[in-house]
Amino acid sequence: MSNIKNGKGVIGWIDYRLPIFSTLQHTLVDYPTPKNLNYWWNFGSLAGIFLLIQIITGIVLAMHYTPSVEGAFASIEHIMRDVNYGWLIRYIHMNGASFFFIVVYIHIFRGLYYGSYKSPREVLWWLGLTILLLMMATAFMGYVLPWGQMSFWGATVITNLFSAVPIVGTAVVEWLWGGFAVDNALLNRFFALHYLFPFLIVGVVILHIVALHTHGSNNPLGIDRKGPQDSIPFHPYYTIKDLFGLSFVLTIFAAVVFYAPDYLGHPDNYIPADPLKTPAHIVPEWYFLPFYAILRAVPDKLGGVIAMISAILILFALPWLDTSKVRSATFRPIYKKFFWFLLIDVIILTWVGGSPAEGHFILIGRLATIYYFAHFIIFMPIIGIIETPKPLPNSISEAVLKKPIKDGT
């Protein structure tokens, strides 16, 4: 490794001309990291690994998949039956998407709890939200590819949302479809874009990491590092911790892939798409359910679409909606409670999104939607002003040397 710096050897020769090895050394080995990160900081690297798993399995699947309305469904069954270990690759890809979202949602809620979006990490936060939006588009288009009943009707419902746009709505929808119905043209472009978007995500992930490494990781205390005594090198301390976390999550992942591979999917997607037969309940994948609940909570179509989009866009404004200077909820007694209320609210929205839009679900969905927006627009700014934070420790190493602070997680 010392060859990198003194320019000797093959690695040193290359690095002198293209500093790829010193960059890797800096990012994955030397990178000074706060010494007090807890397990919630494992989820960033986990998300990166699930992205990689999705790309690798996805490329293999694309080698055997047929993007046409006649051939798509049968080509998936060809993968499941005739391709060597095709069933394994497809089940990893299907469930990998779900786990990617689980991991990313935990990563986002960790950011909300510890104030990771606050100065100087606003751009880092925006890049993360951009990744989330790209992920959602990718996952939605991927779910359409098997061309089962839920693929077809999900695509129909979601693309039809654009018809809510005033004046140009119908034109936009026909442009998206490449025709006058959800058909072959749409399936082909969704396949092309489903292959493209993950690489856009990789690009934004690189920017996300550059932004992260500019000011370094936030930490559970939410205070800035005062000196070298507060940091430890990324390797070996966080490489081993991330590997342990990865292995643990992969164990759960394996349990789902091998023993309940279709559980997170919908049985209707094993019925080939039939434009003349609408399924009894059209439900999106579980990771879209909170947003689906918000969409349906607003009685007006355009209003619903705006509410659904705003539910994510509002997160971009978080650095200014949160008026508190204290990052970590550990020292914010009121905000901490509201954080958990928000989490419960999102779980309620998920539940409502997966239930039929009738009876008391309509009312619960509306109240939960109002609460979701109230949390960000009303409670967050007010709490930051009225709350008296607990005293912050002077430094990370001081807090680490003392009894570890019991934070509310």
Binding site: L88, I240, F244, G354
Partner: protein
């Protein structure tokens, strides 16, 4: 030792999350009246009973195949449930498929070979509709995976034919307690003694249904046995790996945590 408290917490939270996703919370349950059954292929070590699946093929072939196709399955796949090469060839040869055009451009029929897919009872979808009051009988390859409730639903459906209640109007269909809406277009297919099993098993209605469920679970998930045995080995490896990595983590961090 003081940092061990973090481990149970994250285990606990992961466990809750896993349960949340594996619970029926988000999945729309089946609508009809379903008996939850225990089959040979349930559970971590459950496998498809191949003898039962072979009998199930006989039930499919003699009863269901008149109306229902099995388009994703090839005859050669039958090797997986314990048929011999010759048995598969013989079984396939009783069906006819359209051959490739010959040197004069004539299209003839030939008997099926193991690499052919199961031959559909219909020439095309329109014929299927014309023969069945306008609705195509569903293909059975994936039927167990494609219905909420899976194998238990399928079992309950085949057993669920009853006399309709007085007030129920049945214009074109049959009363079935397991079917969503209770009116199904398919008449009761199995009554018991519908087939004479080649292996001498008594063909009660219960036996026929269970055999058919075994067969159709296999057609839907031909990888099931491999998947579960591989899954168990992968799981054991990962548990071992996780423990080793956890101990390494503890050792490496000793310097920091003291």
């Amino acid at each position: 030792m003081k940092n061990y408290y973090k481990i149970p917490k994250i285990f606990f939270i992961s466990f809750i999350l896993l349960n949340l996703f594996l619970s029926n919370l988000f999945a729309a349950g089946p609508d009809g009246n379903i008996t939850k059954m225990k089959f040979s292929f349930d559970g971590i070590f459950g496998v498809i009973d191949k003898a039962s699946a072979r009998r199930g093929l006989q039930v499919y072939n003699e009863i269901c195949a008149g109306c229902h196709s099995l388009e994703h399955v090839s005859y050669r796949n039958l090797l997986d449930i314990g048929f011999s090469n010759d048995q598969v060839k013989e079984f396939a040869s009783q069906f006819e498929v359209t051959a490739e055009p010959d040197s004069d451009g004539e299209v003839n029929m030939r008997s099926a070979i193991p690499s052919d897919k199961f031959v559909s009872p219909y020439q095309n979808d329109n014929q299927a509709k014309a023969m069945n009051n306008g609705a195509i009988p569903p293909d059975l390859s994936l039927i167990i995976k494609a219905r909420a409730g899976g194998a238990s639903y399928f079992y309950s459906l085949l057993k669920g034919y009853e006399d309709p209640p007085e007030d129920k109007e049945l214009s074109n269909g049959y009363y079935n307690i397991a079917y969503p809406g209770n009116v199904i277009a398919m008449p009761q297919p199995l009554y018991g003694d519908d087939v004479e099993y080649a292996d001498g098993t008594e063909a009660t209605m219960e036996q026929e249904i269970i055999d058919l469920v075994s067969f159709l679970t296999w057609t839907g998930q031909p990888e099931l046995n491999d998947r579960k045995s591989m899954g168990f080995r992968v799981f054991l490896f990962l548990v071992f790996m996780t423990s080793v990595l956890f101990l390494s983590y503890r050792k490496i961090w000793k310097k920091i945590k003291g």
